[in-house]
């Protein structure tokens, strides 16, 4: 087995005595779609926050491409090729779709201390931005303010922005939340299309989407990973049934 592109070692976080997660060993292989499921409050968002550099772990380490990034700041991780999306759609509401994407592209420029040129006419930002918009079916919305998009399109924009600058790993925090079955199907198709191009850590409640997409699944309960395996293994795992899927199935 090759070395995982992203992995954690003994990662833990506690807030004022409350343990959010504990001794997390997670390995994301290059090119795989790895889903992370678990009930609310199981520590999934904390884990994403730790990986993205927004939450400082209490102990443990994070390795990205073999490099210890435990103490790197969030923006530095983005430059290394570790990109994230947000659970609550987090786009720039007062900018157009194209501006949103171009700004995401611009982030991978060396610096943005350029004060005079017109950014709206910058081909180097606009061309990849248009490409992303096309890929995510947002072409007809180029000039629409992101805040005025429908929920499903906003979600697509959210994920498209994550992909600007060709990251190697993307962390997707509940991308399917609240977009309805049609939107979910569309998003599954889009993410499926990215398979192999980019490694994904997918936190998701929609188990059907997870089963459709994931190469492997890890189950997080009470801050601990209780199982990792293929879709079949997880579905068959009685411990998972008990802890997460409850008595629903």
């Amino acid at each position: 087995m090759t070395e995982p592109v992203l992995q954690t070692r003994d990662l833990s976080k506690s807030y004022a005595g409350l343990q959010a997660n504990r001794n997390i060993h997670l390995q994301l292989q290059r090119g795989e779609i790895h889903a992370l499921i678990g009930p609310n409050g199981a520590g999934k968002s904390t884990l994403i926050g730790q990986l993205a550099g927004e939450i400082k772990p209490t102990s443990g380490q994070i390795f990205f491409k073999g490099r210890d990034i435990t103490t790197s700041a969030g923006h530095a991780r983005a430059h290394l090729g570790l990109s994230r999306s947000f659970q609550v759609t987090s786009v720039f509401d007062d900018m157009t779709v194209l501006e949103n994407l171009a700004l995401a592209v611009q982030a991978h420029d060396r610096h943005s201390f350029r004060f005079f040129s017109r950014v709206s006419q910058n081909r180097r930002f606009n061309r990849p931005a248009c490409e992303l918009a096309r890929q995510f079916g947002l072409e007809q919305y180029h000039a629409v303010l992101a805040g005025e998009l429908g929920h499903g399109e906003k979600r697509q924009l959210e994920i498209a922005m994550t992909l600007a600058g060709n990251p190697e790993v993307i962390l997707l925090d509940e991308p399917m939340a609240g977009i309805g079955p049609g939107g979910t199907a569309e998003l599954i198709r889009l993410l499926d299309g990215l398979r192999g191009q980019v490694s994904m850590l997918l936190v998701e409640h929609d188990v059907q989407a997870v089963f459709a997409l994931a190469d492997r699944i890890s189950v997080l309960v009470y801050g601990e990973i209780i199982a990792t395996g293929s879709v079949e293994e997880i579905r068959a795992n009685p411990q998972v049934q008990q802890a997460y899927l409850g008595d629903a199935c």
Binding site: H75, F86, S90, V91, F92, A107, F116
Partner: protein, 328 residues
């Protein structure tokens, strides 16, 4: 921007261009100096809009940089006329009376002060940022109150305006055009700035700082540079103000002036640049108009501001744009 708004702005520009003639024709030459004052404060308001409107950095101490600029001009002129060196240094830098050089130095001083104070201020957010910027401005206010060498509380008189090659700055009409040119240039540069790659980063940092970090921007430094740029704009306006009045006093640092600058920007409409100009004009002209009718003009101006906040949510410029949009 809609065509109608363009026309209104163009009309306003033409009016400004012709104003000294009109004022003379109407035999109301005080109008020229009044509008000069408006234009100078408009420059300061535009510079404040750069950070408040585009970067959500609500500075309640912007007058500090305005005052600094003014004092740099006055102090340099003071030493120039005395013929001695700055800070009593035997071989130090002497004074200067060249307007362009003075402007450059004033902007430099403001930039340094802004960088130092910004390093600390930008660690805070929201109301804390408002208050810490106020604190720095108050510190400068008291510093200049106690600087007896430069007049302390009583202020410092300049012996004449700075020199600009080919122009008689002492002539109010010519000085008017200097200020008009400065305003137009500054508005042009500010528009370019907010539409530049840097400007978009600042707008992004206002709209969604968390996302900016996640995308890979180190927003702190961009915000700091924006803060410094805005400070230099205020200093520029300060130099012009000192020249216009041929007098400076610590009141230029006062929190009331900072507050009024903020009011101008909000009144005109945040984050539009033009709004700041409109806000400054309306605020000052309203003040002048009302005070012509009643000495208690503030009694009416106050509630007017309250009504603007409650009913015109995007300021006067927003109102203008909305009306234009509805009519188009």
């Amino acid at each position: 921007m809609s065509r109608r708004v363009m026309w209104i702005l163009a009309g306003g520009g033409l009016l400004l261009l012709a104003l000294p003639w009109l004022a003379q024709a109407m035999d109301e030459s005080y109008l020229t100096t009044t509008v000069t004052r408006v234009m100078i404060l408009a420059i300061a308001a535009v510079s404040l809009d750069l950070i408040v409107g585009y970067g959500a950095m609500v500075s309640f101490g912007h007058a500090a940089f305005f005052g600094l600029g003014a004092y740099v001009a006055a102090i340099l002129s003071h030493h120039f006329h005395l013929g001695d060196a700055l800070l009593g240094l035997p071989y130090g830098i002497g004074g200067s009376n060249e307007l362009l050089l003075v402007m450059l130095l004033a902007m430099l001083v403001a930039a340094v002060v802004a960088a130092l104070t910004g390093l600390i201020s930008l660690r805070t957010q929201g109301i804390h940022f408002i208050m810490i910027t106020l604190a720095f401005a108050q510190m400068l206010f008291y510093l200049f109150v106690s600087l007896d060498v430069y007049g302390g509380e009583d202020g410092l008189v300049m012996s004449g305006r700075n020199h600009l090659p080919g122009i008689d700055t002492a002539d109010d009409n010519q000085f008017y055009y200097v200020c008009l040119l400065a305003l137009l240039l500054y508005v042009f540069l500010a528009r370019r700035l907010v539409n530049s790659p840097f400007g978009r980063v600042i707008r992004g940092s206002k709209s969604n700082p968390r996302r900016m970090q996640a995308l890979g921007y180190q927003t702190y430094w961009y915000r700091l540079v924006a803060y410094v740029i805005a400070a230099t704009g205020a200093a520029l306006a300060g130099v012009l103000m000192a020249n216009m009045n041929e007098f400076v006093d610590p009141g230029l640092f006062s929190w009331q002036l900072s507050g009024e600058l903020l009011v101008m920007v909000i009144l005109g409409g945040l984050g539009t640049i033009y709004g700041a100009v409109i806000g400054a004009s309306v605020f000052l002209l309203l003040e002048i108009l009302l005070s012509a009718y009643t000495e208690h003009w503030m009694f009416f101006l106050g509630p007017f501001l309250v009504l603007v906040v409650i009913y015109a949510r995007h300021g006067l410029f927003g109102l203008l744009q909305n009306r234009a949009r509805r009519n188009d």
